[in-house]
């Protein structure tokens, strides 16, 4: 009786997958039809904004932040749903169709929650920390080219800018860990900084490989020079190990399992954001997912040809690649156990750094030849 209940061998699973595939196909079809839409009707508005650079930038920033906020809500839902399915659960089901609106409900709940600051916390630091994490996460997105036209700030040193800005997030995490005056938070914050700074090195070296190959630091240029052949296809011997190293570093940079030590819930309760509640916690969360999007997008740009792809419009290709990489990150996260801090450090310094150095030398040699 109950065994039947727990393992009903019905067709509902297959049906759900089928529905998912159909919906995905419809979305893709709609996206591929977007170039046919009457975009020229928007030209007056564009012209209006182009004439006023300040207003233009402001509008871009507002658009970017709100786009990220919405995307984060969607990503959180997706991750929860994905994790649920992976674990033979259903995931959120209550709010909206299949729980689509769950994260909206959570966001509203977090907004309405009491904002608790521990009595012994370093209050200015505690208040400031979420923004120190949030702002760099948003700034890095600024230089990401979503499509040939859609880029916040087409900086000719984009790669450098993105890397250097993303590192400053460590400051905010350390501030959060220290400011909360909680021993677990301090341990989490210290781990976060140590991890972020160590993994930055192989990451930069791999980015340098791509920069050397493409002879430019502008992210837009890097993508444009991959037209026709993605990096990973054009230089497989260099770029496949490179992509693997970059992916490991990316996991560490966004504190995802197996490198989620700063917030390892089984050891450090919740690491640096143990004491945070309400909106401040939500900001950390959004920053984390923004970082996710950034690293995935960055990887898509460096190795998988950014917006390039047949049929679909560029923005769709870029989003698709980013989403697939995020999906991969989630998959890894929900499968692998967590490393220990010293094991993780030795993995970085004893394996990734030498490997990326060798890779960089090989790249340099291949370019010189």
């Amino acid at each position: 009786m109950s065994m039947q209940r727990l393992h009903p061998r019905s067709a509902s699973q297959a049906r759900e997958i089928l529905i998912g595939v159909v919906i995905a196909a419809l979305i893709l079809a709609a996206l591929s039809a977007t170039p046919l839409l009457p975009w020229h009707l928007l030209d007056p508005i564009r012209a209006y904004f182009y004439e006023r650079p300040l207003l233009n930038n402001l509008a871009k920033a507002v658009l970017l932040v709100s786009f990220m906020a919405v995307q984060c809500l969607f990503l959180i839902w997706m991750e929860r749903k994905f994790a649920g399915w992976l674990q033979a659960r259903l995931g959120p089901m209550h709010v909206g169709w299949k729980g689509v609106l769950q994260t909206f409900a959570d966001a509203i709940k977090l907004l309405l929650k009491e904002d608790i600051i521990p009595a012994l916390a370093d209050k200015p630091m505690f208040r400031l920390a979420p923004y120190l994490v949030f702002v760099p996460a948003m700034l890095t997105l600024m230089v990401l080219p979503f499509s040939p036209n859609l880029v916040g700030f087409d900086y000719h040193l984009g790669a450098l800018f993105a890397l250097s800005i993303s590192t400053t997030g460590a400051l905010g995490i350390l501030a959060a860990g220290w400011g909360a005056n909680n021993k677990y938070s301090v341990l989490g914050g210290m781990r976060a900084v140590a991890q972020l700074l160590s993994y930055e090195i192989p990451m930069i070296l791999i980015v340098l490989c791509v920069v050397t190959l493409k002879n430019t630091m502008s992210l837009t240029q890097i993508v444009e020079r991959q037209a026709g052949l993605w990096n990973i296809v054009a230089h497989p011997l260099l770029m496949i190990p490179g992509a693997l190293i970059f992916f490991s570093c990316a996991l560490a940079e966004v504190y995802r399992a197996p490198f989620d030590l700063p917030e390892a819930e089984s050891e450090l309760v919740s690491g640096f954001h143990t004491e945070y509640s309400g909106m401040r916690f939500a900001i950390f969360y959004i920053a984390e997912f923004a970082n996710n999007v950034f690293t995935a997008g960055f990887a898509a740009i460096l190795f998988f040809g950014g917006w390039h792809g047949p049929v679909l419009p560029p923005i769709a290709w870029f989003t698709l690649k980013t989403l697939l990489l995020i999906f991969l990150m989630m998959w890894v996260r929900w499968t692998l156990p967590r490393l220990r801090i010293d094991q993780m450090m030795s993995f970085c310094w004893k394996l990734l750094v030498p490997a990326s150095l060798i890779l960089f030398c090989l790249t340099a040699l291949s370019v010189v030849w």
Partner: protein
């Protein structure tokens, strides 16, 4: 300029792990002195779950005490029932009918499967692999369904009594159990693929929390902890009770003494339990399941103890009687109590993250530690 370590000393940090901490599996508190992330010393503080069960039992007739044992080791409460039931039978000279003995072995082994599945899930979660937790609980849920069909309860069964087992198996139980065991083999292989070979899992477990053979003996470790340290000490083999002497099963022993060895012992034990369950189903004779105890049960003055192998180790119950309705002293030898006693000796020198791994691999249940 040379810097020696004496010039740059900093005071250690005292970290209070628990009683509210996600990985202490209940209400254990570890006061650890840290140097960076390395443990200098550790003092476990227990007793947050102390309910005075042993004292309560002194004020109640023997038979009324069996349900309280459900609250000792709540993950394997049938095994706790068995410990006190055997002690009562010894003190009152009661013989359990053969079918009752088979049923007891069957139920205890099913419960052992459930308990080890919880270990598997929580241990993996402690190491960060949250998915295994849900997989193992999926299987455990089916075991609980089976036990619910047999006993009517899902956690606090109270179905092994002094004298036997109150009811026979329900209709179709054997088929359902066999069907489950067939699928369970595949599930175990799946966990094996997911965890045992995993490089990160191995890095977190191999060589961590080593308990040497001598240490395990001196500290009174038993069950999978002792067997992970190379001691083939299984009460089911060294002092067989019920019908365990008729069962064919192996006692897995690993000599490394680390977390990995304890994990492997438990996984292997699950396979052996499945073997025992199949034998029980096959060989169980027909007949009575419960011996009749007198309505007013007054054992002769004296003392008795039972030795049983619970999923956590040697669980024994000590009873003393003065000839009246109530026992004068009830005492449980809780295996987890001894295993937690190992912590102050094991932890110095390991990292914070290893504390969690070690604690998880000991698989303690605070209900039986604090009693």
């Amino acid at each position: 300029m040379t810097l020696t370590t004496t010039e740059i000393t900093s005071p250690g940090m005292t970290l209070n792990m628990g009683p509210q901490h996600p990985s202490t599996h209940g209400v254990l508190r570890l006061v650890v002195e840290l140097d960076g992330e390395i443990i200098q010393s550790c003092r476990p503080v227990i007793g947050y779950l102390h309910r005075g069960l042993e004292k309560m039992m002194e004020a109640r007739p023997y038979r009324h005490n069996v349900p309280f044992t459900d609250r000792l080791d709540y993950l394997a409460s049938l095994n706790s029932n068995l410990a006190i039931a055997q002690a009562i039978e010894r003190i009152g000279n009661v013989t359990v009918p053969e079918r009752g003995q088979y049923l007891r072995v069957l139920l205890c082994e099913i419960n052992r499967l459930a308990s080890h599945l919880v270990f598997l899930g929580t241990f993996a979660t402690d190491l960060g692999a949250t998915t295994v937790f849900l997989y193992s609980f999926r299987e455990r849920e089916r075991i609980l369904d089976l036990l619910e069909a047999m006993t009517g309860a899902r956690l606090t069964y109270n179905w092994i009594r002094a004298g036997g087992v109150p009811t026979d198996l329900p209709e179709g139980f054997g088929e359902r159990l066999t069907a489950f065991l067939d699928e369970f083999q595949f599930a175990l292989d799946e966990y094996d693929r997911l965890l045992t070979g995993n490089r990160i899992f191995r890095a977190r477990c191999e060589g961590i929390g080593v308990i040497s053979r001598e240490m395990a003996v001196a500290y009174g470790a038993s069950g999978p902890v002792a067997r992970g340290s190379g001691i083939a000490y299984d009460i089911r083999k060294v002092a067989p009770y019920d019908v365990y002497d008729r069962m064919e099963f192996d006692v897995p022993v690993y000599t490394e003494g680390d977390c990995m060895a304890r994990y492997r012992v438990r996984v292997e034990e699950m396979r052996q339990s499945a073997r025992i369950i199949r034998q029980c189903l096959r060989e169980m004779p027909e007949g009575e399941t419960m011996a009749k105890l007198p309505k007013i049960f007054k054992p002769p003055p004296g003392e008795a103890y039972s030795r049983t192998e619970s999923p956590r180790g040697e669980l024994s119950c000590y009873l003393s009687s003065d000839g009246s309705m109530n026992p004068t002293r009830v005492h449980f030898r809780a295996p987890s109590f001894f295993h937690l006693g190992l912590l102050p000796a094991m932890l110095p020198g390991v990292k914070v993250a290893d504390v969690i791994a070690i604690l998880g691999s000991l698989d303690t249940v605070l209900g039986e530690v604090d009693r």
